[in-house]
Chain length 180, copies 2
């Protein structure tokens, strides 16, 4: 939940400082998409406010892409039936009961509103430089496979190399001999 | 001068955290415009990189405006002759010599490049929601008058009011009597 100080700033203010430095990876959970999903589902703002935010998000992710940050976005979709199964499991299993929140049942009633809000966000904010991946996630092994595949192929395309050593090969050999 | 950590982020990363909270005023000096002026004057980046930044700046200032932040931008222009006068004064006056930097003379040689870079930034990044004011500043009294006038009329348009007291008028009167 955003703090009072965060609420008194633009909605990207709390996100931007966490953008990763070159060579680093950051994992965001929901982050700024929360600010276009929740207001649409709960109708806390007029639709125009949310529409303006899609453009803000695209401009923000473009800024990151411009400065050589790769942005990947994954939506892990489970079906409504699968959600029912998981909620029942949580209630029945004493090692999972701590995860259960009554509010989950309230939000579940808004399922179709959530789906519409997600669809809208993906269609407005999926760009070639910051694409959304909708991952069928009823089966964890399949979800993991899809996400890992995207991550690996993206990392491979970066053609990462080890930094050049500060020493010449001759010097490296000399020092190796010295140590031995 | 940006730190290494700042250089390894997008150019707005070091600016955004300082955006004022609602009800607050922040004064920025050069800030993100430094990142479109200096590269054009010193040709440190290709022109395309700077062009993309004008759009980033507009999107960023739009984001601030959207969240009820008023953005005013002032360029305090002095003529080349006035600059010569001020530099001579600094050199001649022992109480001002500490302000003198040899680099100022190097940058002065790039005067016309600076003017072109400023013009470009103002024409690309002056928007109704975040306008640029070019203030004739050879005379300090005139500069101060223009800036103060813009600030005052902007503040007046905000129609600021004192917050409503937590107590009713009747209660306020009762408490006043009690104190007396």
């Amino acid at each position: 939940v955003p703090t009072d100080e965060q609420k008194e700033h633009d909605f990207l203010w709390r996100i931007h400082p966490h953008a990763p430095r070159l060579g680093q990876i950051t994992i965001f959970n929901r982050s700024h998409y929360e600010d276009v999903i929740m207001p649409r589902v709960h109708r806390t703002f007029p639709a125009g406010v949310v529409r303006a935010r899609y453009d803000d998000i695209n401009a923000f992710e473009h800024l990151l892409a411009e400065s050589s940050t790769t942005v990947l976005k994954f939506y892990l979709h489970i079906s409504k039936e699968e959600q029912a199964r998981r909620l029942r499991d949580r209630l029945a299993d004493s090692t999972k009961q701590w995860k259960f929140a009554v509010n989950d049942l309230h939000e579940r009633k808004l399922w179709s509103r959530y789906m519409r809000a997600y669809e809208k966000a993906f269609s407005r904010c999926s760009t070639p430089e910051a694409p959304w991946y909708v991952v069928p996630s009823n089966h964890r092994w399949y979800r993991n496979l899809v996400v890992a595949d995207v991550l690996c192929s993206t990392l491979e395309k970066l053609k990462l190399r080890y930094p050049k050593p500060a020493l010449s090969p001759a010097e490296l050999r000399r020092l190796l001999r010295e140590i031995a």
